[in-house]
Symmetry: C2
Subunit: 342 residues, 2 copies
């Protein structure tokens, strides 16, 4: 995919990898996925477009404190839909129409004016959906310590955001819980049970009465903890089946397509009768726990106590379709785009 | 109201009051408010009926551990509507059709087979909507220490359940909060501001856009704590205006008429974006704090740091209309029925 692979390697540099050094000062046509404009409903592929840039010089201006990176892996996450809406009241601002889409990624430093990063470093954090990015907000990036036991792309998935449900269930199992998962295809249901080790799983699209299914089949004694990633009807069914003093951790509401969508609840009164606690949270409030999380997850993964399912698409061009597919459940596991493998 | 007032007083008894002793062994026609049958919507007066009993002997069977009481004050509370529904899944069982309505009251002991209570004692707790009651569940009763500074009826209101909003706001003021109240008539709005000392109050029936009113007029910087007694549209508007890490204490949902009513939310996503905690609670979970509550409230009331508004109706006959009036906001302050003044 790279047009610069055949250029001369400058042997005088010994730090970093060949690739990172090779490119400094070169001008590249920078492929980008552009956000075309604000949407109302579900994202569609033509809300984004592939654009070839006019030419980007891979060099950081002195005094800018910025870095230039080559993007390797990009993360497709449901929360990004919220940034496609023309709404400034949320926890993260909307995308800028006409600019490249912003998201989590794993990248390699090509040039740096920031003393904390040097050429060849691998970083994870907010970057753009393009081949190369000039990043000013370097304080939001984390340097990746490479580890042969952990694929690089896992730094946008297993070790960071996304594919939350598969991990939550496994962590709950590790902590002794009885775990029931919900998914939208029978293939995923089998994965939850056979590969991830959930005690039970069901296909929510095949349940005529979610409330009754939870009560009679999976939680005859009620739910102690409901991890909510979808909102809407599933949350409502869970509320009906909570145990007294049960807890609902709200991480996402992927069932909600528009900001003007309403959610209708039949069982909100359970909050009182069962004395339920519903608590929303954002990853950004828990950054101080990241080091511990990284250590725990890396350890469990290497000990094969947890499994991680990744859905990798190849090529920046594949990003819009992969992103759109999240909302119809096309992905199996964490959706990642491989822009370049090194 | 009492037919027995002219009967002979037995001067040999010195414990208790005249009334309590007078009646022992007498047979009375016991007026009752009977629950006729389960309802679907808002309660109506003819869901209840006044009945004159066949004759109740005011004497406790030996070995029963029960007591017989004369009911003085009965409490009308919105939660009682829930007991009129044919639904066994809530925190309190439904009423029994054909039997007297059950509720909080202040009563005087006429006869006792329970060593913890003696004739003439005043008690508060669960009794029936009738002139005299035989109570077996005496462990749910509290003995009242009479205090000239605190009217007896306050033991079903200020010092117990009901009329929650007026107290919550005043307690929040005592703890340094800026307090905005909501009520359904302009008279009540004035009371909240002028008599109870709320910083602001508004008539929710006159607000075309609750969300906008909260944001622009009362909470331009957002709501830290929302005490929810109503659910529905008001909860939705509050959610839209919560501050980050704001808290919602859910005590009641009086806006909900039926168990099959749905609540529709436009702003449930705020739970995530603002990291809101919603927590339901029941008074019964906090009984262990009652002694402290009683001491605090009694003290503040006597120091005139809090004010209490009571809406007293006279006569057991007035109970059905008074109860029904709760749901159209007819009452001003805590609704109490005076069955007998001593």
């Amino acid at each position: 995919m790279m047009s610069n692979h055949d250029e001369q390697f400058e042997a005088t540099h010994t730090e970093g990898s060949k690739m990172g050094i090779d490119l400094v000062g070169k001008t590249v046509k920078n492929k980008q996925i552009i956000f075309k404009g604000y949407i109302d409903g579900s994202p569609m592929e033509n809300d984004m477009e592939l654009k070839l840039g006019d030419g980007l010089k891979l060099e950081v201006p002195k005094g800018s404190n910025a870095i230039v990176v080559k993007n390797l892996y990009l993360s497709c996450d449901p929360y990004m839909r919220g940034r496609m809406l023309d709404f400034r009241g949320s926890y993260i601002p909307p995308f800028t129409p006409g600019s490249a889409i912003e998201g989590f990624g794993v990248s390699k430093v090509v040039d740096s004016d920031d003393p904390n990063f040097k050429r060849g470093d691998l970083v994870s954090g907010i970057t753009n959906w393009e081949e190369y990015s000039l990043i000013h907000k370097t304080d939001q990036l984390r340097k990746i310590e490479q580890d042969d036991g952990i694929p690089l792309s896992y730094h946008v998935g297993l070790l960071a955001s996304g594919a939350v449900g598969q991990l939550v269930g496994q962590l709950a199992k590790l902590h002794g819980c009885y775990v029931v998962g919900s998914a939208g295809t029978s293939k995923k249901v089998e994965l939850l049970k056979d590969k991830l080790g959930f005690d039970e799983a069901f296909n929510y699209k095949e349940e005529l009465d979610l409330d009754a299914a939870l009560m009679s089949r999976y939680f005859p004694e009620g739910i102690d903890i409901y991890f909510d990633n979808v909102g809407g009807a599933m949350l409502d069914a869970a509320l009906a089946n909570m145990r007294i003093h049960g807890r609902v951790a709200v991480c996402g509401m992927v069932s909600q397509t528009n900001r003007t969508d309403t959610q209708t609840f039949l069982n909100m009164f359970s909050v009182i009768s069962k004395r339920v606690t519903i608590k929303g949270f954002l990853q950004s409030d828990f950054v101080h726990l990241y080091a511990r999380f990284l250590e725990d997850i890396t350890g469990w993964y290497k000990q094969r106590k947890i499994v991680y399912i990744e859905d990798m698409n190849n090529g920046l061009e594949s990003a819009p379709a992969a992103f759109v597919g999240l909302f119809s459940g096309k992905n199996v596991g964490k959706q990642v785009i491989c822009v370049a493998s090194e």
